[in-house]
């Protein structure tokens, strides 16, 4: 369960002018002629409130820079709120595209390390190992350093590691975008399982069909605020597509499902 209470997040960007490191700037600063200048504040989240209950899978949609990833990082406790607060049960685990674990090490070691870092015992990690490798589908690459992996393989393995444990709150930031169709089906099923185990899942995705298939609620963000949120995922997605000038999705009038199928299988 996650409660977001009138959350504001402000990034402080130092040296936005780009001359932070130059000797002259430092000298001026040291002489007191200039304060540690060029601090720009970016108000990334501007007052968001909602409650996510156990068993919710919440899709977060919005344009680039609308604050989706920032929101996830705030829920994970990685960003301090400027105002308001985020409350969670237990730890929230964030799974992002650039969560590379340890690049120099083999996939095998990353799996074991990841399991141990999440608090599993040695025994538990050993038991889970094979299922994580099977789930990721990286095959023989498991014995190679992770830096040799393609982007898709890397994110598959990361998701597999994170999904090995039951999370009270799992935050997925575009992590599934690079997986192939087969992997998406598996991860979709896993997310459903995690939900059923009374966890809360957040999913940031630009693939709106994935959101429709996976999520029971959707939050549409723009410029750090919620434009809309609710249980009627399909109509919010359609409005979002409409507002961003996209081509309307053709739907079956009876089931409201998409007529074409890009993603295979549903559970």
């Amino acid at each position: 369960m996650v409660v977001v209470d009138d959350l504001h997040i402000v990034y402080k960007v130092y040296g936005a002018g780009g001359d932070r490191g130059s000797a002259a700037t430092v000298l001026l600063r040291a002489l007191g002629r200039r304060t540690r200048g060029n601090i720009r504040e970016v108000h990334a989240i501007r007052g968001i409130s909602f409650i996510a209950y156990r068993g919710d899978a919440i899709g977060i949609i919005g344009r680039n820079g609308s604050g989706k990833s920032t929101l996830l990082r705030a829920i994970a406790g990685l960003l301090p709120p400027e105002d308001g607060n985020v409350y969670t049960t237990g730890g929230a685990s964030l799974l992002g595209v650039n969560a590379a674990l340890l690049d120099d090490l083999t996939g095998e070691r990353n799996v074991v390390l990841g399991c141990l870092a999440m608090g599993m015992s040695k025994q538990e990690a050993k038991v889970r190992y094979q299922s994580v490798v099977d789930f990721s589908g990286v095959g023989d690459f498991i014995n190679l350093p992770m830096k040799t992996y393609s982007a898709g393989m890397g994110s598959r393995l990361r998701f597999a590691i994170a999904a090995a444990k039951h999370h009270e709150v799992l935050l997925i930031d575009e992590a599934l975008a690079t997986g192939d169709a087969e992997f998406r089906v598996r991860s979709h099923n896993r997310i459903t399982e995690l939900r059923q185990a009374a966890g809360t899942v957040f999913l940031v995705a630009h693939n709106l069909e994935e959101v429709e298939l996976t999520c029971n609620r959707v939050v549409w963000m723009d410029r750090g605020k919620i434009v809309m949120q609710g249980d009627d995922v399909i109509s919010i997605v359609d409005k979002y597509i409409d507002a961003s000038g996209g081509i309307p999705v053709e739907r079956d009038p009876a089931t409201r499902r998409r007529l074409h199928r890009a993603v295979g299988g549903e559970s």
Binding site: L79, A92, L105, K122, R223, G230, D231, A243
Partner: protein, 373 residues
Amino acid sequence: MSDPNVPSPTLLSAGGDPGAGRIAAAAGLERQSEVRSPDLPTEPLGTYALRHGLRPSAERPPVLAYLAEIWRRRHFVMAFATARNIAMYTEAKLGQIWQVLTPLLNAGVYFLIFGVLVPINRGIPNYLAFLVTGVFVFNFTQRAFITTSSVITESLPLIRALQFPRAALPLAYVIIELEQMVLAMAVLVVIVLATGEPVTWYWLLVIPALLLQTIFNIGIGLFAARLGAQVNDFSQLLPFLMRTWLYVSGVLFSIQNLGLSQTSFLAKHSWAVQVLEVNPAAVYITMVRDSVLRSQRLSAPGAKPYNAALCTQWQNAAARGGTVPVKLQYDSAYCAAHITVQHFWYYGIGWAALALVVGFFFFWRAETRYGRG
């Protein structure tokens, strides 16, 4: 563009700035300050959350819970240390052999310079073993300090991906250095035996000495980890800090002897000698030297009853610099000791405890701030 009459789902808050007009129009919204969704409870959300047993996500865990979390991750710490150790040498052709080769080469350099090229001893018996011991022990603390100062930056992906007590990371780095140190000690045994030191029961004291030093290193490692994560300029300053520390810790010379030779600044200010002697690096170096090297135990000031004449004779010989004849080298034992061997152990325990407590709290206080930015 869109039909504002479409029944809209729950509205939470409206676009506040004019630029969002298109989106706001799409959603059929006016500019409003805050709209509360009807499905939210009427009480303040913070109260509601706390009543349901939720905790602020950016909250620092209490000390005891944090320590328990670290204990739960002990296998992770060990596995992480092993993994990093392996990764460190994957690019090198000789691989893991470098772990032994590095201390060997280190010792080789000192042998070449002080054993062959410039055979001085500064009035210290078995100078080569004295020097190599000092270098290895100091290196342990130095490496622990330097590597932990970048541990947070190096592990950002891991920190951002998974939840675990961040102190596990500097802890693992110190364990890596401890593994290196154990290998260096094996090399040291060979050198010490080769320079004619006997095997004695005192050698066993190396174990508690290194344990204390490891605890100390964990403390300063935690300290350095936070500094390195928050102050980018710290890594630029570090080499100078470490070099100064090296010179004031009696790695290359004996601080006690330095204070005894009458010409120096330190001879006139005996408090300065004492300050240098009890600095943690010097303390651990002295403890290990006294354990491993009989020559050190026998020549330590205070090892024999005070004898002004013999002491002065040794002082004069040492002050002339260069090489002091072997028969005079041990006469420093007739001088008065500032700090006895026993007291060094008290200092060693004190520094370890102090560093651990201060380092831990310093690191823990910023726990929720690692991995941001």
